[in-house]
Amino acid sequence: MRLARAARRKGPGVSEESAPRAGGEVAVAEAPAEDERRPVLKRKDNRAWWLVLPVVVSVAFTAVIPLMTVVNFSVQDVFGPNDRVFVGLEWFRSVARDPEVRAALVRTLLFSAQVLLLEIPLGVALAVCMPRRGVQVSVALVLVALPLLIPWNVVGTIWQIFARGDIGLGGWTINNVLGVNFNYTLDSTDAWITVLVMDVWHWTPLVALLAYAGLRSIPEPYFQAAQIDGASAWSTFRHIQLPRLRGVLTIAILLRFMDSFMIYTEPFVVTGGGPGNATSFLSILLSKIAVGQFDLGPAGAFSLLYFLIVQILCYVFFTVLTRSGR
């Protein structure tokens, strides 16, 4: 985004101007002026659409057609395959007013906020602590990435057993060693904590991997400069490492936000949304309406609103993260 703006300001002649430079990287180091900070300057060419076409076609097939079907559901009352009535925005109104949906929205927002607050700092901290040389690197990377590679329902299954008070190591330890009564199937706080800890366990590695990769890309001279200035470990982190991590952290935050806001499989397996409604997130409620009750109209309206909320929030994150701090 930033790139495009810089290029726009310079106009179409830009590539000729920049051609004599030795190379983008050098230019970055020597001329940190706003317009030249980026190594690549873009040329305007609408033929680039041909390059993007395969993506547009494939995504249209996998996303747009189903989306249209959902839009179709959302404005109709479906009684049977050939028996449907147009109801306009009725479903949207009833969904938006539904207290159960609102409660689930608050719950999901709270969950996403907690997930981000826990996983982003923890992931960055892990990345900073991760070994950087030798065999340890390989071992550490593979071990850290393991939770990411487990199918989501298996993650749910693992925690369903692990957190059980009678036969699971985690639940058993809390009950018998710490002496706290812990039962995620009966107590709503315990259920919430179980789902949250599971998510932190499952997804912090993603943040850690991205942050680690970001840290590895910081050029050596930055640290030498910090060393000359006698910077402490903290200020090296705060003023050199953290700013350089903004790009990867943008991705990490967006991915974690999207996925935690849409979390379904894992809590469904562990708690099924219970006890009561304690862990009934938007997606769980949605699939209850769509698959359980087969109310396609409300479910369609619900998912469009849901989709819209995720998009707006992501757009806000995206804008804030890519524009600020320059």
Partner: protein, 277 residues
């Protein structure tokens, strides 16, 4: 970089390493517990709590690899996941190049729109998916699942690749053009080798997200392309849950991913973030 940190701070937090390995141990506990369950008989799992298995048995692993419904769904998952990773990559490469090199009408909107497809709530999309894939004859095929998973993998692949490509100076393209390289030839001969690590990282992420997805894969398959994760739900029977077999399948679902990350580990450790990513 390690050396840099060491020299810079003079006291690269001595406890950092310890904290890290402690975290790894914590991380491993649930996995080890699952492994522990996979090698003990069901009665022992449900009977009483014990840290170390009383009786060790590998029967569950034997069952897994001799029962065709288990190992064939395992193969199904591997096939459609690999297919998806390759297809997503092929589709995403030119697009990422376009986004990193050119401005064109609606480019920024298109870029964000691509990302939004990762955000579609799956629950309601399942029914349309089922109908569409059935009507075009892709239902219960590996190709069908691979295409369906492009929904979330293509945007991600474009996103990652674009970041890498933006880090490579344009001058390279121009020099190649002056040397008489056509765009396709330049792309294959010069550009692709330069972004090898990006390709590795992208393949890893595509593989990972496709491998762990269950809802869509389960909806558009029945027998021939049934994913392993769906077969695992089968262990719930009238006699209760076969925890040991479930744990065995769980352990085995980690293996392919672990192999993939072993191959791309160096790319992640080195130039993952050449560009904006």
């Amino acid at each position: 970089m390690a050396a840099a940190t060491d020299r810079t701070t003079g006291r690269r937090l001595p406890w950092a390493r310890t904290v890290f390995w402690l975290y790894i141990v914590t991380l491993m506990l649930p996995l080890l517990w699952m492994f522990g369950m996979s090698i003990r008989p069901n009665e022992d799992i449900l009977g009483s709590f014990s840290l170390i298995p009383q009786r060790v048995t590998f029967d569950n692993y034997v069952t897994f690899f001799t029962d065709s419904s288990w190992y064939s769904s395992y193969l199904n998952s591997i096939i459609y996941t690999s297919l998806n990773a390759v297809m997503s990559l092929i589709v995403a490469l030119p697009a990422a190049y376009a986004f990193s090199r050119f401005r064109f009408a609606g480019d920024k909107h298109l870029f964000f729109w691509l990302l939004t497809n990762r955000m579609a709530p799956p629950a309601v999309f399942l029914l349309p998916f089922f109908q569409i894939y059935q009507s075009v004859g892709l239902f219960d095929t590996h190709l069908g699942v691979a295409i369906a998973h492009m929904l979330f993998n293509v945007p991600l692949a474009v996103w990652i690749l674009e970041g890498f490509m933006s880090g490579i100076p344009r001058e390279i393209d121009e020099t190649a053009a002056i040397d008489g390289y056509s765009l396709p030839r330049f792309f294959v001969r010069i550009f692709l080798p330069m972004i090898r690590s990006a390709i590795g990282v992208t393949l890893f992420f595509c593989f990972m997200f496709s491998w762990v997805e269950l809802l869509i894969a389960r909806t558009i398959t029945s027998v021939d392309a049934k994913p392993i994760a769906a077969t695992m739900t089968r262990t719930v029977s009238a006699a209760g849950v076969d925890w040991a077999l479930l744990a065995t399948a769980g352990v085995l679902t980690i293996v392919p991913g672990a192999i993939v990350i072993w191959f791309v580990r160096n790319y992640i450790a080195k130039g993952f973030t050449m560009g904006r990513v």
